[in-house]
């Protein structure tokens, strides 16, 4: 017996009779005959068989029938405000002068090259040669490419069976490239890395998804995430049906991570029957930019070891550090320096080619380094990776270049260093200029960006503004961001997209517009903010 929800019964009866009418009409109009003896169909003519019972309910892919976890998942970085901005951009194109600004400035997303950052020449030379290896034999190539790029391309191609960059590779990524990455990790940390621990992925994000998939059995499985966080984590947890267990970073202490807060949230979750499986730490932080002190990192390692949590270390911004008093230390290095190894702590480190000074977002390259797991768990990780066969080869090659860039003495080293340092010092300057700009605005305080690519200023919105936001059923920070977009064309993401202490309001703005655009950004922002406060000041 079929069962249907009472509230759908009426609709069903209506749609059933409609469908029956249509189907009967269809049967008469298009007879279907079996083919010749080589026929693949042994279809009984529908005209002779009675009408099968009609289908029930809404079509399979409609809002009320799709996977509810999909509905639950949110990702503000490319949310509503971006769609609105794209619309405004289109309007500007069709009708110049239709808005009080000349262009839309996308400060919502860490996408450096879309805002004019240039790629590292050496990397692109190697990639181009790997894409079209048949020119390596030609003498003209020597004139167009640097010698060490040609040499590196040969090296890489020799590690690819048949030099076939168009072939699916090993599901963890090409072995030779993993060797290079492991060597790079060892050079960075001073501790060895095993190429078999490395899984190359289409960006760091798919690797995060994989770990969430492995860790989440049901809603009772929780993952500790920083608030504010990069919303990949909340989205991924929602998609996999788990529970996000928030721990608050301390804005007053430069977005510092307090161990007491971690413990408190862990205990609270457990008391509610949640099995907390892992701890996500983003270092350097996104959106907050803080770089953890070594001591803090040691405490985190001890905490995970003691509480039996997998440490998920998002380290994609490891090359974006702007302050002399902080340094990046990988969690693996910290754990090893404490004398801990594979038997003590389960640790996953995520790295990407999208950030740093290389900013190759569009290539979708990254990896996770997985340590401290048993062989049978690793087999399962491999198995899941194998269903997708492999990550894209260009991204794999780029990951090996990022972890193994030109060295002193290489032909391309000087120009590489100049490009790299130019980008990094510019990022540091922009971080400072924008931080100061935000701090100069009434009611806005902004912690310094020690690293990463973002500023996360806090606004004390006047009551009047909050009420105006409520009147249009918008969160107050989203209201501010919308007004900012409409007045200046600058796109930022409301703090609610990242999480914040309730009753506080923030927005995330990238530091990525090119340096020559920054003065205009600052002045437009300042002018807008003054007008906004004039309008809404209590």
């Amino acid at each position: 017996m079929r069962r249907f929800a009472a509230e759908r019964a009426k609709d069903l009866i209506r749609s059933q009779s409609l469908q029956r009418q249509n189907r009967r009409r269809y049967c008469l109009l298009s007879p279907l005959f079996p083919l010749s003896s080589r026929s693949q169909s042994r279809f009984l003519s529908s005209a002779s068989a009675p009408d099968p019972p009609p289908a029930m309910g809404s079509p399979p892919v409609t809002l009320d029938t799709i996977n509810p976890k999909v509905l639950k998942c949110e990702y503000a970085v490319r949310g509503e405000i971006v769609s609105i901005a794209q619309r405004l951009q289109q309007e500007l194109k069709e009708n110049p002068g239709s808005h009080p600004f000349d262009e839309i400035l996308y400060c919502n997303i860490g996408n450096p090259q879309s805002l004019g950052q240039q790629p590292i020449t050496f990397f692109r030379e190697v990639l181009a040669l790997c894409d079209h290896p048949s020119i390596l034999d030609k003498s003209e190539t020597q004139g167009l490419f640097s010698a060490d790029a040609i040499e590196r391309a040969w090296q890489i191609l020799d590690q690819i069976p048949g030099r076939a960059t168009g072939a699916y590779s090993h599901s963890q990524g090409i072995k030779g490239l993993r060797d290079a990455i492991a060597a790079g990790i060892e050079a960075r940390d001073g501790f060895p890395a095993d190429p078999n621990d490395i899984f190359l992925t289409d960006g760091a994000s798919p690797a995060v998804h994989m770990m969430m998939q492995l860790l989440t059995r049901s809603e009772s499985d929780g993952i500790l995430c920083p608030i504010p966080q990069y919303p990949l984590y909340s989205a991924s947890i929602a998609l996999h049906g788990g529970t996000l267990v928030p721990y608050y970073l301390d804005e007053e202490a430069g977005w510092g991570l307090e161990m007491s807060e971690l413990q408190k949230q862990l205990d609270s979750a457990r008391s509610k029957g949640i099995t907390v499986r892992a701890l996500v730490v983003i270092n350097p932080g996104n959106p907050t930019g803080q770089v953890l002190a070594e001591e803090n990192q040691q405490q985190i390692v001890e905490f995970c070891k003691k509480e039996g949590l997998v440490l998920l270390a998002d380290e994609v911004y490891q090359e974006n550090i702007y302050v002399p008093d902080k340094q990046f230390h990988s969690f693996k290095k910290i754990a090893h320096s404490m004398g801990y190894g594979d038997n003590d702590i389960s640790l996953v480190s995520f790295q990407s080619v999208s950030k740093g000074y290389y900013g190759e977002c569009g290539k979708r390259g990254g990896y996770m380094e997985v340590t401290g797991f048993s062989a049978d768990v690793r087999e399962q990780i491999y198995k899941v990776a194998s269903v997708n066969l492999c990550s894209n080869i260009t991204g794999q090659i780029l990951a090996s270049l990022v972890m193994n860039p030109p060295k002193v003495g290489d032909e391309s080293y000087e120009s590489y260093r100049e490009e790299r340092d130019g980008i990094l010092s510019s990022l540091a300057r922009r971080a400072k200029i924008l931080e100061n700009a935000f701090n100069s605005l009434e009611g806005i305080t902004c912690n310094r960006a020690e690293g990463a690519m973002y500023l996360f200023p806090r606004i004390d919105l006047p009551q009047k503004a909050i009420k105006a936001a409520e009147a249009v059923k918008t969160a107050p920070d989203a209201f501010y961001c919308r007004r900012l977009l409409d007045a200046t064309g600058i796109v930022v993401v409301a703090g609610s997209g990242f999480g914040q202490v309730p009753g506080t309001w923030h927005f995330r703005c990238t530091i990525l517009p090119q340096e020559d655009k920054i003065p205009a950004v600052v002045s437009r922002l300042t002018e807008f903010h003054k007008k906004f406060m004039d309008e809404f000041r209590d």
Partner: protein, 481 residues
């Protein structure tokens, strides 16, 4: 030592259920043997370039230029790259905001989606909407996205052909759904029987499963059969009656080796059927740069096209796509080039046609060589590879072989394939990885080894097979155990 934070017991059960034989036991054993120095012929996966097929020249020229745009400023670039490749690189770069290194729109670059829509329009004779086309990092990612959208829990079933490409069974397991098998009939050239479909659905429903979707793979994998227009009509009508979304895996649409049944897309057939079905039946079609005569597996480029999916659902699908930010841009350019190849009159046209035809004609010849080769072996029966890239011969294992397999703790076809591997270095995938009728065994191999290597491979196989059959067949009249 304290229990590990993540041990086998505490893993997501769905992950444990996943099987993906294409890179499973046989492949791992083959890799081990290769490390030990044995020559292995990997025919376990549709990976043309790994077996010597050369990439097409034109797309590689274009993408190389896009990777290194500073080349375009060099006065000597014309020495290495033809003018039309240079022009095309400039065209694709102009479609981006910031070149290959920037995240694109989460659905893919609008300009390339427009090219894909135009291709579909030319192919089918019906316009396609670029807004309903999402580029993905390979078709597999698109399939996973759609299945994750459809499957709510184990009460949701997806009709999957048996034999099937095990991405489908793996994805359904991963997302906690139920696989509802429908059988392809080997004796009718792997044909599809709508009655079997109906029975599968009834059985599933009787078990409390809500059947949500139907997968067709056309041309088929591993079976290679090409669906006729009539077949597609029946399937579409069936899905319409049963309220199923049809998932049309059409990644092998360029790989057709007979002339009776050329490729016709599910969308074209649907549109031909006219309203109401053409306006109501939900369809998602998948394509890729990995197969055809391009074989660019390593790029991870694909797309899915949605038909009759309501706007709000499209928004939700977009939302999930946005979490992964964007598909990789170089592969998007490969996709643009694939749907918009050199035209007559272009400088690169002749070379492009020569290369493409060469590959396709060779594939057609190899499909025949392999089918005939298998059919000449003892206890082996093989349907002709009408399309795709595989041969799926049936191996009639003698009872003693099956017994030996049991004793070795192996599934019979795994046992056979392992022996084949050890004896010849040919790495195949046992039919159990794809699904087959109880007690009927197959293996899947590809038709991709180089044409000049084919005769030797078939000889090597025949020698092993006939010796194996000799060993395990009870032909001397001894009583069976």
């Amino acid at each position: 030592m304290a229990p590990r934070a993540l041990d086998y017991e505490s893993l997501n059960e769905n992950v444990k259920k996943v099987q993906y034989a294409v890179r499973g036991e046989l492949y791992l054993r083959a890799s081990e043997l290769q490390k030990e120095g044995k020559k292995i012929i990997f025919t376990n996966v549709g990976n043309p370039h790994a077996l010597g097929q050369k990439p097409l020249t034109f797309p590689r020229q274009v993408v190389a230029l896009c990777q290194a745009p500073f080349l375009l400023d060099d006065p000597n670039v014309g020495l290495l790259f033809p003018a039309d490749a240079i022009a095309r690189a400039k065209h694709y770069l102009s479609l981006t905001t910031g070149g290959l290194g920037a995240y694109s729109d989460s659905r893919g670059l609008p300009g390339i989606r427009k090219e894909v829509a135009e291709f579909i329009g030319r192919r089918d004779g019906y316009p396609s909407d670029p807004e309903l086309i999402f580029l993905t990092d390979g078709a597999s990612k698109g399939v996973m996205q759609m299945l994750n959208t459809i499957i709510r829990g184990e009460g949701d079933g997806v009709l999957v052909p048996v034999p099937q490409y095990p991405l489908y069974s793996a994805a359904i397991a991963l997302f906690g759904g139920s696989l509802v098998p429908y059988h392809l009939e080997e004796t009718a050239n792997w044909g599809l029987d709508v009655n079997d479909l109906r029975q599968s659905v009834s059985r599933a429903r009787a078990n409390g499963i809500t059947v949500r979707a139907m997968v067709i793979i056309n041309p088929g994998n591993p079976t290679g059969q090409c669906l006729s227009e009539a077949n597609l009509k029946e399937i579409l009508y069936f899905c319409y009656q049963e309220n199923l979304v049809l998932l049309g895996d059409e990644v092998y649409q360029q790989n057709v080796y007979q002339d009776e049944r050329p490729f016709i897309s599910a969308r074209k057939v649907l549109m031909n059927m006219g309203p109401p079905i053409s306006r109501e039946l939900q369809l998602v079609s998948f394509h890729t740069v990995s197969k055809g005569y391009w074989g660019e597996c390593g790029q991870r480029g694909g797309y899915f096209e949605m038909t009759n999916i309501p706007p709000k659902s499209v928004d939700e699908i977009y939302k999930v796509a946005s979490v992964s930010l964007s598909p990789n841009v170089p592969a998007q350019i490969f996709m643009g080039l694939m749907v918009n190849p050199p035209k007559p009159g272009d400088i690169s046209y002749d070379l492009y046609v020569r290369e493409s035809k060469g590959i396709l004609e060779s594939l057609r010849r190899r499909a025949k060589i392999m089918t005939d080769g298998f059919n000449s072996c003892r206890n082996v029966v093989c349907n002709f590879t009408e399309g795709a890239m595989y041969s799926f011969p049936q191996i009639r294992l003698p009872p003693r072989a099956i017994q030996a397999a049991k004793q070795a703790g192996k599934v019979p076809d795994v046992f056979y394939c392992l022996k084949l591997l050890e004896a010849t270095g040919i790495s195949t995938v046992p039919g159990s990885g794809f699904g087959q009728k109880e007690g009927v065994f197959h293996l899947r191999t590809t038709i991709l080894p180089a044409e000049e290597d084919m005769p030797e491979i078939m000889v090597s196989f025949k020698k092993f097979n006939d010796e194996f059959m000799e060993q395990y067949e009870d032909h001397r009249g001894y009583s069976r155990m």
